[in-house]
Subunit: 194 residues, 2 copies
DNA sequence: GTCTATATAGCGATAGAC
DNA sequence: GTCTATCGCTATATAGAC
């Protein structure tokens, strides 16, 4: 339930974002969204064409937010290693999972190019951005070894996404933290030779 | 649709496994299962108490299979690194995702301790088994550095699980392969010092 | 064991009054 | 813009005949 300080479309989008995160696209009904937003049936269909349309608005915003949060860490101060570390250690609601990565397990999101596009786009950009930072580290000699920047970038992002999976399986965030620390120690020896 | 060479419960379980993999628990209806299995309504409820009961049987079998497939690679011949490599490179239907990891994104699976248990158990065992192999490598000096076996094990499993996420986002298996190769090169320098 | 019939609820959307 | 009414369909069973 969202307070009256938000417009109706705004409340619908925010309610949808929460429900998509919690239950996915398949598990989220227009009715549940309306109730969470405190909005009537007809009101929703006045502002949005239907469930896919509303979901698209929600997914776009969530993707945008994820991109901004990642950039806050990766575009910060410090060495390449420090920025990767900042990205990996940034505050996360681990047990809720990744609001974007989660959608990749949803058959109807994957089947609909419009819904998949923001997911694909933001994860692709994040991977490219991580590759830039890794390459920076390789160029400066901070990271060494026969590393391929694009590959290591994929490993970093996969570790995060997979960490969520393992954490949700156990019901504790421990496996996520282990995976991240393991990755940091694997990256560190190269960094230490700088 | 499953051929007549399988018993009715067997066909129901196999059909459920497929649908859980494809659509998750929330997205899988008893009706869809019955049609896929070529079995009538009443027949399903004769053999299983309901959707959760049938799903439990399906999840248990899928978890068991995953454990066996992983052990086939990790319990094989060769060095610790070679067995980890075999595990990472084993044949996978990458774009379908992990039939077990997928379930962790399902709110109703996570909320039901009975359904979550096989998921938690098999991923926990796999993590422990990977840690054993990593520790073996550290003990023999094949792997070196200040590595924590449990942490690296979590990183390996997370990379695989996250690789599926990235692959499904793009619609190609490339990010999965990149993530795995990146991880192998991060593990390799240590292995090379053996 | 398998079948059809029936039941209650919710889904996703449309219609039309206010 | 928002509301209530309604629609055709599916979800998840239960009942009871065969």
């Amino acid at each position: 339930m969202y307070s009256a300080c938000m417009s109706t479309p705004e409340r619908l989008i925010e309610a949808t974002r929460e429900l998509l995160w919690e239950r996915g696209y398949v598990g989220t009904s227009p009715k549940a969204v309306q109730q969470a937003a405190g909005v009537g049936q007809g009101s929703m269909y006045h502002h949005f064409a239907g469930k896919p349309d509303l979901a698209l608005a929600a997914i776009r915003r969530t993707a945008e937010e994820l991109g901004a949060a990642a950039e806050a860490a990766l575009g910060g101060e410090g060495t390449a290693y420090a920025r990767i570390e900042a990205y990996l250690l940034r505050e996360r609601d681990v047990l809720r999972g990744c609001p974007v990565g989660r959608l990749t397990m949803d058959p109807e999101v994957i089947a609909d190019p419009a819904l998949r596009a923001p997911v694909d786009e933001v994860l692709g950009r994040l991977r490219a951005r991580l590759a830039e930072v890794v390459q920076e580290g390789l160029d400066s000699g901070e990271l060494s070894g026969p590393l391929d920047a694009a590959e290591v970038a994929a490993t970093i992002l996969a570790t995060v996404q997979g960490g969520y999976v393992l954490a949700r399986a156990t019901g504790t965030r421990d496996p996520f933290d282990h995976a991240v620390r393991g990755l940091l120690t694997l990256l560190a020896p190269a960094a230490a030779t700088a």
